[in-house]
């Protein structure tokens, strides 16, 4: 039976109405799996390949009859903006059948939420944090709302595998499952992923074979690259770079990615100035997490509706698929830290049928040039970082315990342990560790044991955390000022960025002078100015996977030319390569460049391994620390370094050996990590920041050379 025939009559009619003449390959494969089996499904394919319809058409066919009166489908999305985008799309699919779609997130009005609660039916679109809020604040409605849910669709599921947020989501879904008559099926919509075993276990730990992965690799798009090297001495980007961007974007719609928010602001102002000189109006719009939401929504709207060549300048805030119209070229200033990130960004272009995916990358110094080349080459090789999960998630468990106590209005000790053991994401934690956690929580009054019983309720300290308005998210946000122009919110500034009244800054692409700072209320008042400095925001430096490091070394030691780079890039590349080539260094070597009393160890491996090596070195009394984001370690007094490396290779390491050498600021940290027992925090650190096996493997794999610097 063909996929089409499997669908319900009304869905068939819908397809005719939409005038489709073919399914996409992913749709063809997914439909039978959803209709004819009871499996959990991961739908994995490139961007704009029709994944949403691939999942929804069969799901709607299945739940059509009952969904008008009962909630049947929960659609999880990582961003409110994405929910808003998808809402219309899904509404269109549903308009002939009597199925309602409800949105539930921070911007949805109370009246709409109440209306849903009164009559939960159809499809609910929600973010993980709003789902948490549901558990904590709408506890009475939980069962009534969710008991008939058959499907949980998770959009951009790949963005949940490696972080605390994903753990949080999985835990919530696990708890939700308990409320349902029949455990709902999970359908995850994913970009291309490696390492499906981990993914399957995440979806269904008890029965990973029940998870079917539907994959359509390959794409119908051509990929076009160009790399331009625009060296600059300072951290200020050269005007030449912006002029070139202007040339590219004068007639084309583009998205320009920067690696930090301050750069976004700087670029917006500079590019708009260039456009103005040509008599054009506002052409470049900034978009990042510290710009006020209304401004961001306005930018998204302008981009998606405008036919004129406008461009948006963003950080990863626009990496996930918020609709911004048809982008013709993607511009990236300096490399991303991961291949998956670059791939995701690249996928923002070439949405239209015949269009290609076009990427222009700029590198501004030698390291960034090599890193960019490495990442681009890995994209071409179709490699992607494998998922690695988020180990020992005690921090999230802490928060979930508070949530569970609240949900159940008190829960017996044993019952809680049982729940945790059966939870889809916490089951792998050792029971003794769980007990340690709970004990610690009792001691610090996060939870409280009721007298004469073994029932746990939320303690006094726990209540404060529960009542705080950012309880619902498990990721950290930095301390920020809110920036106001009169009564209008413009965005936020990091408190770590030192500002004084009278300073000028750039925010939202506009120039502002600071008139007043209200430290107590964390507000900064500004008025328009004619010049300004780009703000700095604290951000964590990226982690690179060892493959990227290895690729960089490979590039440095070879003579390959790359046909997509400009002359200056080629010249610089050859320049940088010189010292490796002349010294006969190959990709099987790793060097320590010594200049008098200081050595620079170029590890060219993954960040976690590099960190581990630093701690290992310190164990052997070497004064070592990480120098930059591409794995260089500075070593003071590097004589005898080679023999130390040998010793490191031969030692049988345990995590405890390294712990004394981990500096406070190098320690693993997360939003709730500070609240958990020290021993568990250490475990998290070891699980996520340390890679002994990898480091030893590294030491065994390469030949180390100590070279003198001329």
């Amino acid at each position: 039976m063909s996929s089409f025939d499997l669908l319900s009559e009304k869905m068939k009619k819908k397809i005719w109405d939409m005038k489709w003449d073919r399914f996409t390959p992913i749709q063809e494969k997914t439909i039978p799996l959803i209709i004819n089996t009871q499996k959990d499904i991961i739908v994995s394919s490139g961007t704009a390949s029709g994944k949403t319809e691939a999942a929804l058409l069969p799901i709607l066919s299945v739940v059509e009859k009952t969904a008008s009166s009962k909630l049947k489908v929960i659609y999880i999305s990582p961003l409110k903006a994405l929910i808003n985008n998808q809402f219309e799309r899904i509404e269109k699919l549903c308009d002939d059948i009597d199925i309602r779609i409800h949105r539930w997130h921070g911007d949805v009005s109370q009246s709409k939420k109440l209306a849903f609660l009164k009559n939960p039916s159809g499809i609910l679109q929600i973010t993980p944090e709003s789902l948490e809020s549901f558990f904590v604040n709408r506890t009475n409605h939980l069962k009534a709302a969710f008991k008939e849910v058959d499907f949980i669709v998770i959009d951009e599921i790949h963005s949940f595998f490696d972080n605390a947020r994903g753990v949080h989501l999985r835990s919530l879904l696990s708890r939700l499952s308990n409320l349902c008559h029949v455990p709902p099926r999970i359908v995850g919509l994913s970009a291309t992923v490696d390492n499906f075993d981990l993914v399957k276990a995440w979806v269904n730990y008890a029965d990973p074979d029940n998870v079917e992965v539907v994959e359509v690799k390959g794409s119908d798009k051509q990929l076009l690259f160009h790399l331009m090297h625009v060296p600059s001495e300072t951290s200020i980007l050269p005007l030449e770079l912006f002029e070139d961007i202007r040339d590219l974007t004068r007639h084309q719609k583009s998205i320009i990615f920067c690696n930090n928010r301050g750069q976004v602001e700087e670029a917006t102002v500079t590019l708009n100035r260039l456009a103005e000189k040509e008599g054009m109006g506002e052409t470049y719009y900034p978009h990042h997490s510290s710009i006020d939401k209304k401004e961001r929504e306005y930018v998204e709207k302008v981009m998606s509706e405008s036919t004129a060549p406008k461009s948006v300048i963003a950080t990863s805030s626009l990496e996930l698929g918020i609709d911004i119209g048809n982008i013709e070229v993607v511009i990236q200033i300096d490399s991303t830290y991961s291949v998956s990130s670059l791939k995701q960004r690249l996928g923002r272009s070439g949405r239209k049928r015949e269009a290609d995916q076009i990427l222009q990358l700029y590198s501004t110094d030698d390291d960034k040039l090599i890193q960019s080349l490495a990442v681009m080459e890995l994209v071409i090789e179709k490699w992607i970082e494998p998922s690695k999960g988020y180990l020992h998630p005690f921090d999230v468990l802490f928060q979930q315990i508070l949530s569970i106590c609240q949900e159940n209005n008190g829960i017996s000790y044993n019952h809680l342990i049982d729940r945790i053991n059966k939870n889809h994401i916490f089951h792998s934690l050792l029971t003794k560790d769980v007990i340690t956690l709970i004990q610690g929580m009792i001691e610090k009054e996060y939870v409280e044991v009721l007298k004469n019983s073994d029932e746990l309720i939320v303690g006094l300290e726990g209540e404060r955390i529960l009542r705080s308005k950012d309880f619902y998210s498990v990721f950290m946000t930095s301390d920020e000022y809110e920036v106001m122009d009169g009564a209008k919110r413009i965005g936020r500034l990091d408190k770590a960025f030192i500002i004084n009244v009278g300073d000028n800054i750039i925010l939202g692409g506009r120039l502002w002078g600071i008139k007043d700072i209200d430290f107590d209320r964390s507000k900064v008042y500004v008025t328009k100015a004619v010049s300004g400095n780009k703000p700095t925001y604290t951000g964590s430096p990226g982690y690179i996977h060892k493959k990227i490091g290895e690729k960089m070394m490979e590039i440095l030691c070879s003579k390959n030319e790359f046909h997509y780079i400009n002359d200056i890039a080629l010249a610089t590349l050859n320049d940088v390569r010189r010292k490796y080539l002349w010294n006969g260094i190959t990709a099987d070597h790793r060097c320590i460049w010594v200049d008098k009393a200081e050595g620079i160890f170029e590890t060219y491996t993954g960040t976690t391994i590099t960190k581990t090596l630093v701690w290992m070195l310190r164990y052997f009394c070497v004064d070592a620390k990480i120098m930059d984001g591409v794995g260089r370690i500075t070593i003071l007094n590097p004589e005898g370094i080679l023999s130390i490396l040998q010793k490191m290779k031969e030692k049988e390491w345990t995590a405890e050996d390294l712990l004394p050498y981990v500096e406070e600021k190098e320690f693993f940290t997360s939003k709730y990590a500070a609240f958990i027992d020290e021993s568990l925090r250490v475990k998290m650190h070891v699980g996520n920041e340390v890679d002994i096996e990898g480091a030893v493997g590294y030491l065994q794999k390469y030949e180390f050379k100590s070279m003198s610097f001329m």
């Binding site: 063909s2 996929s3 089409f4 009619k13 397809i15 005719w16 489709w20 003449d21 073919r22 399914f23 996409t24 390959p25 992913i26 749709q27 063809e28 359509v216 690799k217 390959g218 794409s219 119908d220 798009k221 051509q222 990929l223 076009l224 690259f225 160009h226 030449e240 040339d247 590219l248 004068r250 007639h251 084309q252 719609k253 040509e278 008599g279 036919t307 060549p309 048809n326 013709e328 070229v329 239209k352 269009a355 076009i358 222009q360 681009m376 071409i380 046909h563 997509y564 400009n566 002359d567």
Partner: protein, 380 residues
């Protein structure tokens, strides 16, 4: 001092040199004899496009409209052709002059700049006969058939030069398209939205393919919808919202009566209530208008009345009208207009119409004029 330019470099031409007003821009190269290389200059406006057809200077049109840019063959051995630019005469709307080399019919003969060497552009102050700068191209091209060597551009109230040295693949045709030179005289306006994909591809020339498309795999075909029977079923697409119809009908009736009210004559003219249905007797408004006819007749002057009485069978010849009126010292057009104005006021419409050879009374007022005539006769 001659500046040797590198690709991408930009220099001042007129800054601090107010006496530099005439330039000689020469282009030279070495190639096989049978290579047909053309030199062209594009005079571009703010939007990087030609403003008028005359602003494209090439072998077929060696001067711009006011001769501010002229193309000549060179005598020296270093250059093959040069442009003479009179900076003072360049129209203010021209913001940039681009100098290009192209290979004639490169698609046909397959010639490219790969086989061309020693390409150079020289800038000379032609008044002082001093060479100011030279841009020798010291890198090679491959399959390009057009080169933008450089451009003179306005910077505020000065001129500067940008050594571009960029090659393109489409030959002169592509350059023309880029600069908005209409090659086949068809205006490009359409009513539809201009898609942003039909835009200059020149900046995108730099991108290299790193991955081809994968073999096209398509999903299963969706079967065609079975044809709906021609008979209209109850759920045919066209539905009528009765309530809306009611509202619209009411509003339309209101509008009609609003107009009727404004018509003094017709205000009191209702034969029954206004919400009439189809099946009552239709009425025409001319039926009962005694009062207005009277007030109209009253408003006429003697001359006007006498004139109307002269009508026979609802019309009067133009000549007759003219002679009658001339006697009274009156102009025809104005006179007729006066009567019509009164008619408009009392009867709600014009009474008379001036045609080629006669003046006629509109049909519905025939009876009126007839009755006037009868009355007049009666009086005699």
């Amino acid at each position: 001092m001659v500046i040797s330019l590198v690709k991408g470099q930009k220099i001042d031409i007129t800054k601090n040199k107010p006496e530099t007003t005439r330039l000689h821009i020469g282009m030279g190269w070495k190639s096989q004899h049978h290579f047909d290389i053309d030199v062209s200059a594009f005079m571009l406006g703010e939007d990087e496009k030609i403003i008028r057809e005359e602003d494209f200077v090439f072998y077929g049109q060696p001067y711009s409209s006011n001769k501010s840019v002229q193309l000549e063959t060179s005598i020296s051995s270093v250059e093959k052709q040069h442009f003479l630019i009179d900076l003072l005469k360049v129209p203010t709307v021209v913001k940039k002059i681009a100098f290009t080399l192209t290979i004639y019919e490169s698609e046909l003969n397959g010639h490219t700049f790969e086989a061309v060497s020693d390409i150079v552009l020289r800038i000379v102050d032609s008044r002082k006969q001093e060479e100011m700068a030279a841009f020798p191209i010291d890198y090679s091209f491959t399959k390009e058939s057009a080169i933008v060597l450089g451009s003179l551009y306005r910077y505020g109230d000065q001129w500067k030069f940008h050594a571009v040295g960029a090659g393109f693949f489409g030959g002169l045709a592509d350059l023309c398209k880029e600069y908005g030179v209409e090659v086949d005289d068809q205006p490009t306006d359409t009513n539809t939205q201009v898609e942003t994909t039909t835009v200059s591809s020149l900046p995108n020339e730099r991108f290299q393919v790193v991955q081809e498309r994968d073999a096209a795999v398509s999903g299963e075909e969706i079967p065609k919808q079975p044809a709906e029977p021609i008979h209209l079923k109850r759920e045919s697409g066209v539905q009528f919202d009765e309530q809306r119809i009611e509202t619209l009908s009411q509003r339309n009736d209101d509008l009609i009566s609003l107009f009727a009210d404004k018509d003094e004559d017709t205000a009191s003219r209702s034969t029954g209530d206004s919400s009439e249905t189809v099946h009552t007797l239709p009425t025409f408004l001319d039926d009962s208008q005694e009062e207005d006819y009277d007030s109209f007749i009253q408003s006429l002057t003697d001359v006007e009345r006498a004139f109307l009485v002269k009508f026979d069978g609802g019309s009067i010849s133009l000549d007759l009208a003219k002679s009658f009126l001339k006697q009274k010292g009156l102009m025809v057009a104005l006179f007729i207009n006066g009567i019509n104005e009164k008619a408009f006021e009392h009867l709600g419409d014009n009474l008379l119409e001036v045609q080629a050879n006669s003046i006629v009374v509109f049909d519905e007022f025939h009876s009126l004029v007839l009755s006037m005539k009868e009355r007049a006769n009666h009086e005699h």
